[in-house]
């Protein structure tokens, strides 16, 4: 049974930031939603409430950095680049301020629909010069994020998980590293964020079906470890599948296709994720299935590569972990 960790960011940030008075916790009116409410209550002098004013928050953070502080910005991912994109570039990215942006609700992890779902954040953030981009995929990675992000000499965007977070890994996140979760020779499967947990639901069924999968988990989109991908990509027989909680354009799938084309490799690529579409509000299980990037969609993609049906039924996959709509691990049902 997989270990479920309750609000790992909450204690991680508190432990980390309370040791360095130069760190300031900024929140755009989403303090409990970003799990920094207990930090606010215990360390009010390091907390700066910015209200619902993201344009100001970005430039204000730039100013704090210019007076020697290290702002950690907390809000939903969408609010860090959609409205204040200009400020993100001029006040944070261009001058390489040491600002750590914690963006919550990645992709379809929220029933709050288009306005809350950051489905294009990786594609945008990774094309911004000077920006480092990290996505957390489990509780251990959430527990590493403050230390890893804060070591970066420049701005960092972190795609954050909150609430009940599964523990998949037992080693901390190392910037630009790529985790090898399973070795194999037929197919290279590359997943990130919540898609790694989702893909693992198919692991046993695929082993039973005799499919040899090389499974990688990516957490650092920039600086991206192209060499490692290239090295592992070269030897797989059938092709590559990427699975991301994001648009397939601009994110992980695109990054892999860039490596394939750059190196002239004869590899087929199937990109699972949102295919040039916005999503609507719903549960993670419903949305990943509806938009075709759940574990069953992965099975179907593998069938395409091997050219035959595997006769794996949905019930053969490990049970999906269902999160309650209302729980003590979340501030509101978002």
């Amino acid at each position: 049974m997989i270990e479920i960790v309750n609000k790992p960011y909450s204690y991680t940030f508190k432990n980390y930031a309370s040791k360095n008075k130069k760190i300031l916790c900024l929140s755009g009116d989403l303090t409990s939603s970003c799990e920094v409410d207990s930090f606010r209550d215990e360390f009010p002098n390091q907390f700066v409430s910015m209200g619902m004013a993201e344009q100001n928050m970005m430039s204000f953070a730039g100013g704090l950095s210019m007076s020697g502080f290290i702002p950690f910005i907390h809000t939903f991912g969408v609010f860090t680049y959609r409205r204040p994109y200009d400020q993100l570039l001029a006040s944070i990215a261009y001058p390489r301020r040491k600002i750590r942006i914690m963006g919550f609700l990645p992709g379809i992890t929220t029933p709050a629909g288009m306005t809350h779902q950051a489905i294009e954040d990786i594609s945008i953030m990774r094309t911004i010069p000077n920006m480092t981009v990290i996505e957390t995929g489990d509780a251990t990675e959430v527990e590493s994020i403050c230390e890893v992000a804060d070591k970066v000499d420049g701005p960092v965007y972190c795609r954050m998980l909150r609430g009940s977070v599964p523990r998949l890994f037992d080693t901390p996140l190392k910037l630009s590293d790529i985790r090898v979760l399973n070795s194999g020779t037929d197919i290279l499967l590359i997943t990130s964020g919540i898609c790694t947990e989702e893909a693992l639901r198919a692991r046993a069924a695929l082993v039973n079906a005799g499919i040899s999968i090389l499974h990688l988990h990516v957490h650092t989109f920039k600086p991206f470890n192209e060499e490692k991908i290239l090295d592992l990509l070269t030897n797989v027989k059938l092709g590559v599948i990427t699975m991301e909680n994001h648009l397939v354009n601009g994110g992980l799938g695109t990054m892999i296709s860039e490596i394939i084309s750059k190196n002239g490799l004869p590899k087929k690529l199937i990109k699972l994720g949102l295919k040039d579409t916005f999503a609507h509000g719903g549960s993670k299980q419903y949305l990943t299935k509806y938009y075709g990037f759940d574990a069953y969609a992965l099975i179907k993609s593998i069938e395409k590569f091997i050219g035959q049906e595997l006769n794996i039924l949905e019930e053969d996959l490990e049970t999906a972990r269902i999160e309650n709509v209302h729980s003590l691990s979340k501030a509101e049902a978002l």
């Binding site: 700066v48 910015m50 209200g51 004013a53 344009q55 100001n56 970005m58 430039s59 204000f60 953070a61 730039g62 100013g63 704090l64 950095s65 210019m66 007076s67 020697g68 502080f69 200009d86 400020q87 001029a90 006040s91 261009y94 001058p95 390489r96 010069p129 000077n130 000499d153 420049g154």
Partner: protein, 308 residues
């Protein structure tokens, strides 16, 4: 290098106008009306109001040495022309980056930059850019996107309160950027956090790119708006340096201070009035226009016509 206050601010303002005018005639165009409206403010800021140290940068600006990048270890902003960053000194943010030419002329007049610096203006490979960049003399950040200056200064001021710095943070702004919503977000936050170590002077020349603000997007009574946001807002004649001194001395405990300097976009160059409302960037359509303006305005500025 000239000593602070050795010249009077009025003379510096005249020098700024003359220098920007000369540049405009020689280069067939410039942000000229901005020199008319803001010369007294910038002269007063650098000559009297700002508590800043001597420039720590070469008086002839270095050439462009790359944008901020992890591999560019020698990157420097242009802030050093405003002296070192230190707890007792004021920090100065120059918000309307298209006023850069006026800023450079000011740096020359107050002895922080060599006159040769202006010949590098808008030349390829130069740091003396047409829209003030972070690496341009006197600048510390990119303000080409209007509206981010006040928020940034508020962040600096907040940090400086935590650091218990005695120095203030000052922003030079223009009125057009008050149309940006971010300015009002910045005011909300500055008032909420009682940032009385933050102050701004706004060049209210009532002009923007498309013409007079009243025709483009009238923003009504600025003083009333800013006061109702809870900041201390004082309106003065922006060509009256004594009025600036008094405004700066107004008590503003627990409040940021915003000085609205009401100005004329053709102050000192009345001939420019003919162009109203096309004043944002002055360039000449014909040689006749150029030479006529050269004769008329040089007379007003008390100098010989510019040779070009």
């Amino acid at each position: 290098m000239r000593e602070k206050n050795k010249l009077n601010s009025e003379d510096i303002a005249l020098g700024i106008r003359r220098r920007v005018f000369e540049h405009c005639i020689k280069n067939n165009g410039a942000y000229l009306s901005q020199a008319c409206s803001s010369a007294e403010q910038l002269a007063w800021l650098y000559n009297e109001a700002l508590n800043i140290g001597d420039s720590i940068m070469p008086s002839i600006p270095e050439t462009f040495s790359g944008v901020p990048h992890i591999n560019n270890k020698n990157y420097k902003t242009g802030a050093g022309y405003n002296g070192p960053i230190s707890s007792e000194y004021d920090r100065f943010i120059f918000a309307p980056a298209h006023y850069a030419l006026v800023a450079y002329a000011t740096l020359i007049e107050v002895g922080r930059m060599a006159p040769e610096g202006l010949s590098m203006f808008n030349q390829d490979g130069s740091s003396v850019e047409i829209i003030g960049a972070e690496h341009s003399p006197g600048m510390e950040m990119h303000n080409g996107t209007l509206g981010i200056g006040l928020s940034t200064a508020a962040g600096i001021a907040y940090g400086r309160k935590l650091n218990k710095d005695s120095g203030d943070t000052c922003v030079f702004m223009s009125d057009g950027e008050l149309q940006e919503g971010q300015i009002w977000e910045a005011l909300q936050v500055s008032v909420y956090y009682k940032l009385d170590n933050l102050w701004a002077i706004v060049d209210v020349n009532e002009q923007q790119v498309d013409g007079a603000m009243s025709d483009v997007l009238d923003i009504g009574n600025i003083q009333k708006k800013i006061n109702s946001f809870g900041a201390k807002c004082i309106e003065i004649d922006g060509h009256d340096i004594e009025a600036m001194r008094q405004a700066k001395n107004e008590k503003h405990k627990d409040q940021p201070l915003i000085i609205l300097a009401r100005t004329s976009p053709y102050k000192g160059m009345q001939y420019l009035k003919k162009r109203f409302p096309r004043l944002h960037y002055v360039r000449f359509k014909s040689e006749e226009e150029r030479s006529k303006m050269n004769l008329e305005i040089s007379k007003e500025l008390g100098i010989d016509p510019i040779k070009y």
